[in-house]
Amino acid sequence: MTLSKRIIPCLDVKEGRVVKGEHFVNLKDAGDPVELGSKYRDDGADELVFLDITASPEKRKTVSEMVCNVASKLDIPFTVGGGISSIEDARNILCSGADKVGINTMAIEKPELITEISERFGRQCCVVAIDAKRNEDNMFEVFSYGARKSTGIDAIQWSQEVEKLGAGEILLTSIDRDGTEDGFDVELTKEIVDKVNIPVIASGGCGSMEHFVDVFNKTNVDAALAASVFHYNQFNVTALKGFLKENEVLVRT
């Protein structure tokens, strides 16, 4: 098998600009999505994820403008997530040039949206994001609304359900690890990866290059996503890929 493991930087976007902050507060302008996206591309990023956190609905058209600009410059695939609540929203983003759309809360509230997107545009376009947290009963529970609302849904069952509904990929974030820099949640990732037959992207908690090696060596995950380590330049994608290669993880270089 020569399919490489993917490294995916994630950029938070508000009203058409990339922002940085801790847990969506104290947001600071961090620049132009096209410029930052191109820099990551040049460093060897395999894909990009843009997470739109624009709150006001009237400013949401900035998203399609941004998607259009990014698509005209970048020759690697990218996903756009955040605020997609209907097939029209998905269509709008995809027709502006995004390769995939990511849905999270809406997938939970309107599971048929997964099926609609995958039937209309192909399942490869449909990334379902799952935010999971270990609860008191030692179950991995799905949370919605930006990890704020508990749903009582078992994350493992939900991942199998979204696969059946037509998801092409799962973006799995560990709420326990997010922002901690303690490393990816290997246990959660392994549980889910072993239960589905679609690609899974691990997210949340990475703070070092070793953490990437760890999640790739201990689980059969397909890709790993990170934001802050790349934003704050703890290391760049080029260095990371060199390190992964030394540790016998197959990456595109």
Binding site: M1, T2, D46, A71, D75, D99, G122, G168
Partner: protein, 202 residues
């Protein structure tokens, strides 16, 4: 100026392939019905949507596509667009263009489906549109089905995903890629540039 038609099956992202061609100075015409009165230098069948739906759009354009095929004019099929060159698909009912003998198969459950990500191209034949592209170059794939040609001579590259599948085909001026050249960085850009140059020479 080189004029290339992109066939629109009515679903998904045509923006990327269009942008990639524009960067090469090509005039692109996105259309759901090819026009017999227009002389295109080449036609692209893009890689979005599903077989069942695309087959219907293909039927409408079958005559002109056959005409290009028979007169050896350049056609590039990307992903689903390339699969349409064959006869049948496990994805759904309806006939493809039948330029090449063979069927489109589903990956087995031994591997994750869809096959998403960067994989390598093992060159079989030195296809013209692989000019300047190194053997084992990386390309971006996103698909659940792959072609199984009857005639192995049309296979330009293969890729390893549990099985060794056909990732590029070529016969005369008909070219097909299972990966997305418009999303495959430098190697992909070179392949598109080479296709455009084939279009320019005729």
């Amino acid at each position: 100026m080189i004029k290339i038609a992109i066939l629109d099956y009515g679903v998904g992202n045509l923006f990327s392939i269009q942008t990639a061609l524009k960067k090469l100075g090509v005039t692109t015409i996105v259309t759901s019905e090819l026009d017999t009165n227009l002389e295109y230098d080449g036609i692209i069948l893009p890689g979005v949507g599903g077989w069942k739906h695309a087959v219907k759009r293909i039927q409408v354009n079958q005559r002109i596509l056959n005409d290009y095929y028979e007169n050896n004019k350049p056609i590039l099929g990307v992903c689903l667009g390339m699969q349409l060159f064959f006869e049948k698909s496990a994805e759904g009912p309806g006939d493809g263009l039948g330029f090449f003998e063979g069927e489109i198969m589903l990956f087995s459950n031994d591997v994750k489906v869809p096959h998403i990500g960067w994989n390598t191209l093992k060159q079989n034949n030195k296809d013209r549109i692989l000019d300047g592209v190194e053997d084992q170059s990386w390309a971006y794939f996103v698909h659940s089905l792959y072609p199984k040609p009857v005639d192995s001579k049309i296979i330009s590259t293969t890729t390893d995903y549990g099985i060794e599948f056909t990732s590029m085909v070529n016969k005369n001026n008909i070219f097909g890629t299972q990966f997305h050249p418009e999303k495959s960085g430098k190697a992909g850009a070179r392949i598109l540039e080479n296709f455009v140059s084939v279009c320019g020479k005729l």
